[in-house]
Amino acid sequence: MAGQISGKVRVAIVGSGPAGLSAAARATALGMSHVLIEKTDHLSDTIFKYQKGKHVMATPSNLVLRSDLDFDAGKREAILATWDEQVAAGKVNVLLNGEVTAITGEKGAFTIALKGREPVEAETVVLAIGTQGNPNLLRLPGAELPHLQYQLDDPGEYFDEHITVIGSGDAGIENALGLAADPAQRNVVTILNRGTDFARAKGANVKLLNEAAADGRMIIRLETSPAEVKAGELVLDTRDGQETIRCDRIIARTGSKPPRAFVEACGVTFASEQPDAFPQLSPSFETSKPGIHVIGALAGYPLIKHCMNQGYDVIEFLNGNTSLKPADEPILAEKFAGLPGRRSVDQWLELFRANIVILNELSPLQMRELMLDSRVHAHDAGEVIFVRNDQGSSMFAIAEGSVLVEVSAEDPSITVPIGQGSIFGEVGLISGRRRGATIRAAEPTLSMELSRTAALKLMATAPSAARAVNRVFIERQLLQIFGSGLTAEDVAELVDAAAVEDIRAGKVVIQEGAGDKDIFLVRRGSMIVEKDIGGHPVFLSYLPAGSYFGEMAVIDGSKRTATVKAAIKSEVVRFPGEMFTALLDRKPRLREKALADMAGRREVNQFIESRKDSFGGAVDYYSRTAQFLVDNGIGEATDVLLIDEMLCVGCDNCEKACADSHDGLSRLDREAGRTYAHLHVPTSCRHCEHPHCMADCPPNAIKRGPDGEVFIDDTCIGCGNCQRNCPYGVIRMDAKPPKKPGLLSWMLFGAGPGPGEASYSWRKKKAEASGAEQAKLAIKCDMCSGIKGGPACVRACPTGAAIRVSPERFLSVARLVEDTD
């Protein structure tokens, strides 16, 4: 399969991952002159770097594979071997060790410059380089010497060496620990850190590192950076001047550069400035630069099957096959099957694109992609679409017809219409809160329901859609809060003047005693309100997303009566106070309502102040407990397990119940986690408003269920991204254990491992005996959804120590009154 390139090829494919390989295989099959350029010395580097024996999944299962190469779920080794064999057998023209440095020229005559070898000439280019990027290179004298490397595959292969690791992130620390793990290798390992601490790394890694240093297995050099690489030596810049140490090998782990800059340098335009934007593409994957095509993860499709299908498709398009329908056509056809009227997939897509305002600017390819992550509905007149207080993070758009919003919880006959082309349900998407109102169809209506992922992707790629959604969100929140007869026109001025601000955790938005007058709306995240009493900050209340604050100073002109600060990283909308005053002047009824609301809040303030002396210690205790809970992520939680250690006898029945209710694996670690004043926050899912785990899930397997639970469905591919992204360490990767003998056979005859999670050794032995291979998938708490009676951990607690709470219920003054009365 060695590369033989004579003259100009028809297509040059850069990157030999699933997308590039499949494209090259198609080109070979069609007899199209081609070359497949791969940076490393083997095919498909990303999968090559998976850990040994990893079970690779093949989702989505309803998508057919269209490729000349075979692919099915299985072990990493088997998949790579199949591809290697088929590529060799098909005589695909592969060029290994070809690092592309630049692509110049125009359609029909591109020049692909390669590092250290002859450039390649091609008529068209297909970029299938994924999103991994290239490691950041060290820029210092001697950086070209061979003992400097940017990757460490097997720490066990180096002996008797002086090795220096550069980089203070997790990758660097893990490499350093690996090299120093076995004293028998007799390596002298040094890790350099330009700063004074390892703030970017995980706490557990830093702890291991410090321990290794205390044991003398590792040398940590803080405030030190490399100055020059020499043969067998490394010159360091330290706080006290230059120093030279012995060094046989340097491992540099200073992060990697996303491929965007390189792609843009080729002349390709991205959809927006957002860091998560993808290149603009035509239906045939052509970029804004004619002749250059982008497929695979770089085009926004991270799953292997998608990538392989696109590789096939792009070559077919280049070969002039314009009638080729994408492989996802049947999936889309199925989505539209339930709608009235006989239209083709393309006609439906066009109808939705043209009728829904925020989708107007999308290309047919983007529309297709969006539709794959969305659902379409046909509602009869009067049909309820969702109900107030339902959980839901999807957003709806009206393609035909209109809906009515029941703005009053008491009287369903009070409604506000939303017309064709507009959206609804955006509050769930932006704030992660429950639905604010019941919505029903006013007439026969066609709607499109965008999943949270699809909607976020849309907002990242189409800036105009993001602006439109944000405006609607602010306007509706204002109307909902201040209600009483206001119309969109009344608040238009306020909406125009509104500014969205990012607030980092702990930052003060309003300072008690200050004279400023603006009003704020919590858009996402949450705030805590504190009042200074006798020199101590006393916790007053917790404000979830959707709340407003700062209006008292505006209404009665007083100074700020309490401090409001962000509990977690949040976004607030700021409205200028004077505009609000003007609005109040125009609307006397609104002023009355505002004054009435204010009286209630003032009572709470006075209550705290008056009771301060009578239960002094309790207020203090309550404030500190509230602060502890906020520090431990309760501020972004929707439902969290707490353990009262005054009652917990440590029987671990909660863990056993969890395991036996969920395929035999526990999703909770009772003992781990932080404790304050006997209130323990175990390692267990908090069901965050904006789940970190959802951020980067290739098959979009993480969803929010009807009771607010964040769960992982069975399309999980076991990549481990969610586990890495969860700041609370509540997701584990494990294989579903074999079935245990029943409870009675254990109690009477001692068969099996008994209640709760079976030991690792039992599971392993039993699984080997059964012979069926199980992939390690992500598992986490699903709040026992689908199990009658609710969360098993709480039901199985014999003493009442385990409780589940939502923050707004737990962090309210009512609790304080309850606890002290």
């Binding site: 440590g650 709480v794 003493t799």
Partner: protein, 291 residues
């Protein structure tokens, strides 16, 4: 100062019910519902005993005795089923806390019901054996209630946010450092440290575990020997590490002791319950056989 949307504070929602957010212990569950039930049951039994016209005298063989005996036997069987309920994690609206609460209070009411059932007639026979076993089971249970009420907070205080695994890891980390630090010591001193490190921390047995007294702790002995020999850096470091090790051992031992005290009664309570069930069966069979 600020307001949350009204919807957040609407009445108790379906999800609150699912959560079981009521925060009260098994002893105070639902306003001590089962204490009241148990108290009422006992009162009725006592009143019945006082007013029932049985002849020749109250005992297990009268009609009233049979009623009490049936109630008692059913209670004993039901109470012993807690062991199954606790481990059968089925769906449904049950709460183990409610079961525990009922178990505790109804179990205590057995003292009244069973004693009245005997009619205060005791002897050296299988009937009184069953009664005696039942009283022992109840007494061990009373210890359990006391332990559950007092010990959890001590356990929590002692943990200082560490898990048992972390405590043992911390000890292992200190041991590695101690081993390194002790390298320059003289032979005799080094042997002390090696012996201390080599000692199985958890071997000394049930008595030490339950009392927390470890008389032959070599770490303490090494510390006593080496404390006065400070002066150079090596000795100071070794002594500091020994103190750290001693403190860590103390935490682990207290943790194990509290856990043992929370569990030890079950090793009496459960086997005695099995014995009680057997004696109860013998009691019932013999009563009907010799009727």
């Amino acid at each position: 100062m600020a307001a949350a949307p009204d919807i957040e504070f609407a009445g108790q929602s379906e999800s609150d019910i699912r959560r079981g957010a009521d925060h009260e212990s098994f002893l105070t569950h639902k306003g001590m519902r089962w204490l009241k039930v148990s108290f009422g049951l006992s009162l009725v039994a006592i009143l019945g005993y006082a007013f029932a016209d049985v002849s020749p005298r109250p005992n297990g063989g009268t009609w009233y005795g049979y009623i009490l005996g049936t109630i008692g036997a059913l209670l004993i069987v039901w109470l012993s089923l807690l062991g199954v309920r606790k481990r059968a994690f089925t769906g449904g609206r049950w709460s183990l806390k409610a079961w525990t609460s009922a178990h505790v209070y109804l179990g205590l009411s057995l003292i009244v019901i069973a004693t009245l059932h005997t009619g205060f007639q005791f002897g050296w026979n299988v009937h009184t054996l069953a009664y005696g076993l039942m009283i022992l089971v109840i007494l061990s249970g009373v210890y359990g209630i006391i332990a559950y009420a007092i010990l959890p907070q001590e356990l929590s205080n002692n943990r200082r946010e560490m898990t048992q695994g972390q405590m043992i890891e911390a000890l292992a980390a200190i041991d590695r450092q101690l081993e390194q630090a002790a390298q320059p010591l003289a032979r005799g001193e080094a042997d002390l440290i090696i012996a201390a490190l080599g000692q199985d921390t958890f071997a000394p047995g049930v008595f030490a575990r339950l009392t927390g007294r470890y008389r032959h702790c070599l770490t303490e002995r090494s510390l006593a020997e080496l404390t006065d020999r400070t002066g150079d850096e090596t000795h100071e470091r070794v002594v500091a590490l020994l103190r750290k090790r001693d403190g860590q051992l103390e935490q682990i031992r207290r943790h194990l002791r509290l856990k043992a005290l929370l569990e030890v009664w079950l090793y009496v309570h459960v086997p005695l319950t099995v014995a009680l069930l057997a004696a109860l069966a013998a009691h019932i069979v013999s009563v009907f056989y010799y009727w």
